[in-house]
Amino acid sequence: MPAVPLEHGLILAGILFAIGTAGVLVRRNIIFMLMSVEIMLNAAGLAFVVAGSARQQADGQVMFIFILAMAAAEVAVGLALVLQLYHRFATLDADAARTMRG
């Protein structure tokens, strides 16, 4: 099986990361923002895996498992926050929670 070139993998990771970032920045629905953050995390994980495979080392996959664990924790906290937000403001619009402005 021919190996995927490193550049291709990294470009894909970069595209995914950009999509995720754009999602965080433009979406107002907090669920979608959370999902966009997941995409960004996975883009970073993909970059690790691609780099690990290119160097024939296991470190990249170790880091990906680490990211998976962290993403799980993040989703747990994030969903709890989403629930609280919904309770308090009866909406999923992140801009509604702007009472913390200076």
Binding site: T21, V24, L25, V26, R28, M33, A94, D95, A97, R98, T99, M100, R101, G102
Partner: protein, 630 residues
């Protein structure tokens, strides 16, 4: 030897301390006993000291009593020391004796006033300060008395502090004299810096050794001391405080004008006469200032309506005579005029006080009149005082003290035609305003009635002062009239003889006759204008030129307005501008800048999470870009 010397200033000071601490709890009688008694005992001590000084003069006719060291800073070690010579003997006798009579009078005159013990406390401190001033052995100790006198004048002029105008008069007196005091303090610094001592006799010795006549240092030192003297003695250009100082009770005016305070400048110049001899331009300036002052104040005195203001201007004018005498080197004549002036001016003020108190604090002479019958004794004593002020020939002390001054002013090497002429015009003016005062107050139709008759406590000082005003003249008679020289011989051990005074009595007779005639003419003019034909005076004032002069003189030659424009106005202007603290603008500007930045930053905290995320993203991009491209 001179065991009582230290008691002379200590007794009034003790009286002050007692009155300050337990005065309010004493009865009025107790306050009077402490207040008057301390000065009385001090006067007795002064008289005994004076007698001892005459009978068994100390070696070199000077005695120094070192009470204790005061402070020691390097080579600067002033002592609390009293210096007794002929000049200080004369000064302490006048200060304590006239001071005692004024205190005696106040005991009765002030009895109904609130703050009786406060009054006597201040008066005692006043006399104590003046005694320190005239007895001090070094200039630092003298300066202590000098400032004490200034403080007490402030306290006493503002004695009736419940009226704002009195407080303002007190502040004015304090600030105007302070201008002079500052010059004097700088003079002390300069003297110590260049001569290394402030002990008065030592200064004189070293000055003669180190400074040639007319050298810049001598001129500077003498000019700075003169500045102090001008302020305290109310001479042009610092004379404006004295007429306003009339806001105080009448005994205070008597004390300020006769025995203490205003004569301090005369004393200072006489005491440091060697320094002034070394600086001929400054000494000449003393004469010019004296001459100008005596004329300016004399003309102002002629048109005042307030009896106390007449007396105030006359004091300025008479001190002007003393300065004139000092300026032409007639040292003992100046001190002799101080002595006679102390008696007759105290007498005049106390007499005026009787009138003012009797008429419910009425001071306008045009509302008085005809008081001769109602207050016979006050009238006669006041007449003696006014005659002495006007230098009525042959019988009054004022004649024997003023005539030599005019003569010296004209004839002495440092004098001249103009100074002499000024003095002669001053004689005319003095006699006019003195008798204007007498005629308006005591003659003519009665316009007011005395409600309060003076008692013996008030009559006694008046009679004693009247007698002294007359007989004091006979201890110093001119060459042509007996040539009695008791006073100047006594002072000759402390003050240099007047130049050319004894060489030839040239022209003295002419001057005596001239002075006498001028005085009589002045009295006659006053008689015509203010008693026989008051219409003439009214016509005169109605005339345009005369009216302008009248207004000018009435306002004291507009000095107050000039100073208001020149100094007070700009000062108030600067103060108003600076009331918002110009320097603070820098610091409040810094604070404002920080606040502006703060507001900008706090507006970025919008509460919208996407904005924060945007910030993080842009920051990350920038950070990476910097890392990649540099």
């Amino acid at each position: 030897m001179f065991d009582l010397l230290w008691l002379i200033p200590a007794l009034p000071l003790a009286g002050f301390v007692i009155l300050v601490f337990i005065g309010p709890r004493l009865s009025n009688l107790g306050v009077a006993i402490v207040g008057v008694g301390s000065i009385g005992l001090s006067a007795v001590a002064a008289i005994l000291t004076g007698i001892e000084f005459v009978i068994s003069p100390p070696p070199a006719h000077a005695y120094t009593l070192i009470v204790r060291p005061w402070m020691q800073v390097g080579s600067f070690a002033p002592e609390i020391a009293l210096y007794l010579d002929a000049l200080s003997v004369v000064m302490i006798l006048i200060v304590t004796f006239v001071g005692f009579l004024i205190h005696l009078y106040s005991a009765e005159n002030m009895i109904e006033e609130e703050g009786y013990s406060r009054f006597f406390a201040y008066m005692n401190l006043f006399v104590a300060s003046m005694l320190v001033l005239v007895l001090a052995d070094n200039l630092v100790f003298l300066y202590l008395g000098w400032e004490g006198v200034g403080l007490c004048s402030y306290l006493l002029i503002g004695f009736w502090y419940k009226e704002a105008a009195n407080g303002q008069a007190a502040i004015k007196a304090f600030i105007v004299t302070r201008i002079g005091d500052t010059a004097m303090a700088i003079g002390l610094f300069f003297l110590f810096n260049s001569l290394g001592t402030l002990q008065i006799q030592e200064i004189m010795h070293r000055a003669v050794e180190q400074w040639p006549v007319g050298s810049g240092a001598a001129i500077l030192a003498a000019a700075l001391l003169l500045g102090g003297a001008l302020g305290k003695s109310a001479q042009v250009p610092l004379q404006t405080w004295l007429p306003d100082a009339m806001a105080g009770p009448t005994p205070v005016s008597a004390l300020i004008h006769a025995a203490t305070m205003v004569t301090a400048g005369v004393y200072l110049i006489a005491r440091t006469n060697i320094l002034f001899t070394l600086a001929p331009p400054v000494q000449f300036a003393v004469g010019i200032i004296g001459c100008a002052t005596l004329l300016i104040a004399g003309f102002s005195a002629m048109v005042q309506a307030d009896i106390k203001r007449v007396l105030a201007y006359s004091t300025i004018s008479q001190i002007g005579y003393m300065f004139l005498a000092l300026g032409v080197g007639a040292w003992s004549s100046a001190i002799f005029h101080f002595v006679t002036h102390a008696f007759f001016k105290a007498l005049l003020f106390l007499g005026a006080g009787v009138v003012i108190t009797g008429l419910h604090h009425e001071r306008d002479m045009f509302k008085m009149g005809g008081l001769r019958k109602q207050l016979p004794l006050t009238f006669w004593t006041f007449l003696v005082g006014a005659a002495s002020l006007a230098a009525l020939p042959l019988v009054t002390g004022g004649f024997y003290s003023k005539d030599p001054i005019v003569w010296h002013a004209w004839m002495a090497p440092r004098g001249g035609l103009w100074l002499g002429m000024g003095g002669l015009i001053g004689v005319l003016v003095t006699s006019i305003y003195s008798f204007r005062m007498v005629f308006l107050t005591f003659f003519g139709e009665p316009k007011a009635y005395i409600s309060k008759r003076p008692t013996v406590l008030i009559h006694l000082p008046l009679v004693v002062l009247a007698i002294l005003s007359v007989i004091i003249g006979f201890i110093e008679l001119p060459h042509t009239l007996g040539n009695v020289r008791i006073f100047s011989n006594f002072l000759s051990t402390a003050l240099p003889a007047a130049a050319a005074a004894d060489a030839a009595a040239q022209g003295e007779t002419i001057f005596e006759i001239l002075c006498a005639v001028i005085t009589l003419v002045g009295i006659y003019v006053a008689y015509i204008l203010f008693l026989q034909r008051p219409k003439y005076a009214d016509d005169l004032v109605a005339h345009a030129t005369a009216a302008t002069a009248h207004r000018l003189w009435f306002s004291g030659w507009g000095f107050d307005r000039l100073y208001d424009k020149l100094f007070v106005g700009p000062f108030v202007w600067v103060a108003r501008i600076n009331s918002s603290d110009v320097v603070d603008l820098i610091y409040s500007g810094l604070a404002g800048l920080a606040q502006a930045f703060h507001r900008m930053l706090s507006s970025t905290q919008s509460g919208i999470i996407r904005h924060y995320a945007m910030g993080i993203a842009i920051g990350a991009v920038l950070a990476i870009a910097i890392m990649v491209f540099t």
